[in-house]
Symmetry: C2
Subunit: 361 residues, 2 copies
DNA sequence: ATGAAAGCGCTAACAT
DNA sequence: ATGTTAGCGCTTTCAT
């Protein structure tokens, strides 16, 4: 690999040409012990200012780059946090991930990324690969699927934070919200707005499906047994929404029994429904009403503006990272569980209970 | 950290309770040398099947997890590839990143993520942090901004692949396309479609601005000196497009001199323009025409369908990862530069030169 | 505030 | 096909 064998043109300054510069080289050049350089690198404040300057000069001269691989081995602290996402391309998790990365990197940790996919096939492998790097912590965006994987992490060797869910049996720490509650509240709220005819557009994401199921059960309990459903594969897209509305219009006798309320498991799908409605000249919310999920940044900007369920992804990510950092700094030892909740946001794609007022629930 | 000090209920089997299981422990239990375990782990094929089974049994019994931190230190191969993204929240890079991650993880490498942001402030720090992990390679999505950073990488210590651009002085390997060419081709193409009145909506991403500049210069050379411009901060959003169109309509005397052709540096902004047009009842492409950039998955699904510049992000990512892997496997030593090009896609948000035909350029 | 010795857990290189 | 020896470059721990 020939690491930094020279600093620009100053090859001749190096004690050991052909080898990479080590902390020992820096120490020799600065006339101090290796341990002093290590201290300067990790906690400059415990080194005399004068000594620190000598060391820094030697570092600059050699172009030395700290080797945290060796440091991690010696100290059993990798300063690595593994973050597991279901999929990079689902924008739902972007804000959470950004917040996580922001706070972790600020605290001197680096992110090791793992993509779990939505099928639990290679999950065991992924976990092995992650653990083999000896991360100081793991943040799961979503949850691991197989019980084996979960038990594996429950040993307590590594702090784990689960996000985007409120599991009854968290592995360790957890910050999320109840998808069942979302489904229930949406149903109740939409019934309250007067809707009686419902359809559901979903992708086969496990949490979305749980929201959907809870939604349907709540409706059933209120005397609405039939809800048309379409479940698509893969990441939510506009296309799913457009296809979905088209499919629904074929099965629903046009606007008999009031407007059709279409509930989507993602803002992106909902946006597609709005698009297809516009393309067909269908009025929203008069003929068809739409509810999304996520309150992603575009939701307030669609036309008409999208009613949705707001999830504060940034706060969730930030909280997850904080919890983990606190544990790593030994401040909190116990398990932490935080429900960050959600908010129903009424915009223009659903009817207003009071036409003159917009309300945020 | 107490790494895997027990396997379920079998604590008593461990040679050294209280310590984490090491490769040596596995070796002892299996009755072989540590090196044999190492070989089994890294290249099972060079170990006798029978021996491998003994080792595997010992691994299963102890719950051993390979420590690649130690392995990396000993072998000077971290099997880590650092991937630098400008921003997690810009969906433009999602496909590229997904392709990169896919191929790398398949080849046994793990991704260490770095976010550069669009300002080059902490770039030097980011680089230090990355290099301190001794990655086997670095993939830059976009390019580092400061000359100092670039020179730092040019030492050749680590293979580097730059993507999403076609720099005249690549650090090492490169796969991208010419943003100047995009600007030029867009201008020429739109003039060919008959447009004479242009506006530009951009975010302050350096590459987008270069496309914009090239676009404007090409127009100027063809006798069109005035192009209205709005440049916004941050990641492209629908809101930028909606605000942008509103702002443009205030400065442009309505549809005098033919339709206004609005060129956006991102499909997302363009989508916002379409949305604002719909909200205002402005006909697209008759009164206002729109061109995006990226051909993200929603572009063909907007209403009207968005004309845009197609960039094959997946191919770019896959190619970048392949180049890097080839280098790491010693197959190719020289610098590789690949122009993956781009394609102008005419959909419904721009006028058709021949109304009966849709053409992909 | 700084130094010296020992070792983190693995693999390269050589030997058998 | 397997074993032995000697580190990789840092930090822990104890000393001064």
């Amino acid at each position: 690999m020939n690491w930094q064998t020279m600093t620009g043109k100053k090859t001749e300054q190096l004690p050991r040409p052909g080898r990479s510069v080590t902390l020992g080289d820096v120490a020799r050049l600065a006339g101090v012990a290796p341990m002093t350089v290590s201290r300067y690198l990790n906690e400059p404040s415990i080194v005399r200012v004068e000594t620190g300057l000598k060391v820094q000069r030697a570092i600059d001269q050699t172009g030395y780059v700290h080797n945290r691989l060796a440091g991690a081995l010696a100290s059993s602290r990798s300063r690595l946090v593994a973050v597991v996402l279901p999929m990079v391309t689902n924008p739902l998790f972007s804000d959470t991930f950004e917040a996580i990365n922001q706070r972790l990197s600020q605290a001197g940790y680096q992110v090791l990324l793992g993509i779990s996919g939505y099928q639990s096939q290679q999950e065991q492998q992924l976990l092995d690969v992650i653990l083999s790097r000896r991360p100081d912590g793991i943040i799961l965006t979503g949850t691991l699927h197989t019980a084996a994987s979960r038990n594996r992490l429950r040993s307590g060797a590594v702090p784990v934070v689960e996000t985007w869910d409120l599991s009854p049996e968290p592995i360790d720490m957890l910050v999320g919200f109840s998808h069942e509650q979302v489904g229930h509240d949406c149903a109740t709220h939409l019934l309250g707005l007067g809707y009686r005819q419902f359809a559901l557009l979903a992708v086969n994401d496990p949490r979305g499906l749980r929201r959907a199921e809870s939604f349907i059960q709540t409706l059933a309990a209120q005397g609405i047994p039939h809800v048309l459903q379409h479940v698509y594969q893969g990441v939510p897209t506009l296309a799913h929404g457009r296809t979905g509305l088209s499919a629904l219009l074929e099965s629903v006798p046009a606007t008999q029994g009031g407007p059709l309320m279409i509930v989507c498991t993602s803002d992106t799908i909902a946006h597609g429904v709005l698009t297809e409605a516009a393309a067909r000249g269908i009025r929203v919310p008069e003929e068809v009403a739409v509810l999304g999920f996520g309150d992603m940044n575009f939701a307030s900007q669609t036309f008409p503006a999208l009613s949705t369920v707001r999830i504060d992804g940034s706060q969730m990510g930030d909280t997850a990272a904080r919890m983990l950092l606190e544990r790593l700094q030994g401040q909190v030892v116990g398990a932490g569980v935080k429900d960050i909740g959600f908010t129903l946001v009424d915009r223009d794609s659903t009817a207003q209970s009071n036409p003159s007022t917009k309300r945020a629930w």
